[in-house]
């Protein structure tokens, strides 16, 4: 009986004491706090994560816009990355969203979302807006800079965020994308080296990172060394892109 009393006291004491003995705050999970400042960043020739262990899978490129660095695939179910260049030749840009079935981030905590800004009037300078293909290639590089700068804010009503990918423009789908896949080489008839080539278009994607910051991103090239006029001889899987991220929590994307 005495022992029972002792246990009772212990438990009561434990219950009482746990209030005073507050546990230490958990140390910050994940990143080492190396987030970038608000600004514009350019990533050139982003290649596969060479430490990947599963050789059979696609070479997916997981990227943290917050820290401007590659994240290993082993961390795909964490909040450490914001976008991934995924799928056949990395043509799908998925945001890190753990609730999206079919997304590489599925099952994880990710809350990122993505959208693509489409301005048909601007597009008409280089693009047939009814047939959804470029009028001529290569597309004037000045248009890329103009398009990027012209996105100054997040227009969520006009371009609602989605959790699926932004991919090849109107390729077997009705969706606007970031790049045109010239399957037959129709834009360069008679030149066999120009079929099955992906040309990036001056389209800007807007991303809300996992941590909730807004960024704009534009693909420049998927071929090594960013050739102006790619052909089948160029090596894909080396992504060049630029992005601007706003770290003050606002939707202001007018960043120099």
């Amino acid at each position: 009986m005495y022992r029972k009393l002792l246990w009772c006291l212990l438990l009561t004491a434990a219950a009482a004491c746990s209030k005073d003995d507050a546990p230490a705050k958990p140390e910050e999970p994940g990143g080492d706090g190396n987030t970038v400042k608000t600004g514009v960043y350019r990533v050139v020739n982003l290649a596969a994560d060479t430490t990947a262990t599963s050789g059979g899978n696609a070479v997916s490129l997981y990227y943290s816009l917050e820290e401007n660095k590659v994240i290993p695939e082993s961390q795909r179910q964490t909040g450490n990355w914001d976008i991934v260049f995924y799928g056949i030749y990395n043509s799908s840009v998925y945001p890190n969203n753990g609730a999206a079935l079919g997304s590489p981030g599925y099952g994880g905590p990710g809350r990122a979302v993505i959208s693509v800004v489409v301005n048909r009037k601007f597009d008409a300078q280089y693009y047939d807006t009814l047939q959804y293909k470029p009028l001529q290639l290569p597309i004037d590089r000045n248009l890329f800079a103009t398009a990027f700068e012209s996105v100054k804010t997040v227009e969520e009503d006009k371009f609602p965020f989605i959790t699926r990918d932004i991919g090849l423009d109107h390729f077997q789908s009705g969706f606007d994308g970031w790049g045109h896949y010239d399957f037959y080489g129709l834009l360069f008839p008679g030149d066999p080296k120009k079929s099955h080539v992906v040309y990036t278009m001056p389209r800007v994607m807007v991303i809300k990172t996992h941590k909730g910051h807004y960024a704009k991103l534009m693909m420049e090239n998927i071929y090594k060394d960013n050739p102006a006029n790619p052909t089948r001889d160029n090596k894909p899987g080396f992504i060049t892109f630029r992005y601007a991220i706003q770290m003050d929590g606002s939707k202001n994307l007018d960043i120099q």
């Binding site: 002792l6 006291l9 212990l10 004491a13 434990a14 004491c17 746990s18 003995d21 507050a22 546990p23 230490a24 705050k25 958990p26 140390e27 910050e28 999970p29 994940g30 262990t53 059979g56 899978n57 082993s74 961390q75 795909r76 179910q77 964490t78 909040g79 753990g98 609730a99 599925y106 099952g107 994880g108 905590p109």
Partner: protein, 245 residues
């Protein structure tokens, strides 16, 4: 009268006991300063998965449901003020499939303010239905497959019914086990039936060079089929015969 007296005596006794006895307060044993207070898995949608911390045997048990399809875990650990834990809170447990298949020693050492240490061992318990493989062969009737590498293109398809397969091929692995018990390289899984938890189809293909690893390792002989499905695995009781021409 006796009863009344008895009750009165009892009441007096109780009062006396309560009033006159010196109450000795026994201090509870001080809480260990080198303990883990909470352990949760936070890289999930919605509520974190709470682990059960057991101070008696210094263990932490977490229950991972298969349908979350987790392949990495991010633990958040709280310890008493002034204490530290190694590995630190947030250190990822990567490649969960490898943990399930090959085991891994995962321990956490808490160092209290006063320097005393305690080490906890992590137990991961996967909650998933049983993995059951329907046999392709019987004791007397061995199923046979042939792949002819002299052809430009040939393939064999190993179609296993059963239950407990995963909806995502990435969470599974199918291998041949030779007569010495050695596992060959994994067999490619068909995407035809992705989503079907009662069927899995593996294909060994001869096509272009270089040939895939399992085909290079393959010799004519008897093989059992082993399937790894998330946290479980199962092997067919009877082998199949594979002829490699």
């Amino acid at each position: 009268m006796q009863l009344y007296l008895r009750q009165f005596a009892a009441a007096l006794f109780i009062l006396a006991f309560a009033a006159c006895t010196k109450t000795e307060t026994i201090d509870p044993a001080p809480e260990a300063q080198n303990r883990i207070i909470t352990y949760s898995i936070v890289n999930v949608q919605g509520d974190p998965i709470s682990g059960a911390v057991n101070d008696r045997d210094s263990s932490i048990t977490i229950y991972i449901p298969f349908y979350r399809q987790l392949v990495v875990l991010e633990p958040e650990i709280t310890v008493p003020e002034g204490a530290t834990v190694t590995p630190v809170s947030g250190t990822l447990i990567e490649d969960l499939l490898d943990v399930f298949r090959n085991g891994r020693d995962i321990k956490y050492t808490v160092t209290a303010k006063d320097g005393s240490k305690r080490t906890y061992t992590l137990r991961i318990v996967v909650q998933q239905p049983d993995l059951v493989l329907d046999e392709l062969s019987t004791a007397t009737d061995i199923a046979e497959f042939t792949i002819d590498t002299r052809l430009a293109y040939d393939a064999i398809h190993i179609k296993l019914t059963g239950s407990g397969f995963m909806e995502e091929n990435e969470l599974m692995k199918m291998v041949l086990v030779d007569e010495t018990g050695r596992e060959l390289s994994p067999i490619g899984l068909s995407t035809t039936n992705v989503g079907n938890i009662h069927l899995i189809i593996g294909s060994i293909t001869k096509f272009t060079d270089p040939q895939e690893p399992v085909l290079q390792e393959l010799k004519t002989g008897l093989y059992k089929i082993k399937v790894y499905s998330y946290g479980k695995n199962a092997t067919t009781k009877f082998p199949v015969k594979i002829n490699k021409l």
